[in-house]
Subunit: 99 residues, 2 copies
């Protein structure tokens, strides 16, 4: 059963493009790692205070995701993301429905 890593990033006003430029190489790297299934980055509506970006990444197993994000290579690639407050966590799918 796959797991979901959901991570919410706080991006200051005017920094959305910069955030995506920092996020893209990190996503590209993770897509090459064992256990990776998919990623979907959602962009919130911008306000004066900034915006929120929410990534929902599916992995075959939490251990595979953790191995990928704690690797030295990822830490190097994702260093530019560290400036954005984030709250990552693992989730299981509780309910799914499609029209």
């Amino acid at each position: 059963m796959s797991v979901f890593m959901i991570n919410s990033f706080e991006v200051p006003a005017g920094h959305a493009d910069e955030f995506i430029a920092a996020w893209q190489p990190a996503a590209d790297f993770l897509a090459t790692r064992p256990g990776y299934v998919s990623t979907r980055l959602h962009r919130g509506l911008a306000t004066d205070a900034g915006l929120r970006m929410v990534n929902v990444a599916e992995w075959a197993a939490a251990e595979q995701c953790q191995a990928a994000v704690t690797s030295a290579e990822f830490r190097s690639i994702a260093g530019r993301l560290a400036g954005y407050p984030s709250s990552p966590g693992f989730y299981s799918m509780a309910y799914e429905h499609h029209a």
Copy 2:
């Protein structure tokens, strides 16, 4: 272009089943409304403090989602959800990739 309503709920320890029992009829109702596309409820890992549930619902348009969740019928059905602190917001898809 569809939109995503992402809503994060804080659920006290031991209340996960009760939350899902309250959430299910609300989800069933929304699935009947114009513009509804899909819903995915993610369940966080439980801790002593409780757990987080994150719903990602896709709608054809934000106006259709708002019409559904502000309807008297929905407010009645979803009343039991009001006790769980939540932070809803609309998002667009910024990036999507599948292995």
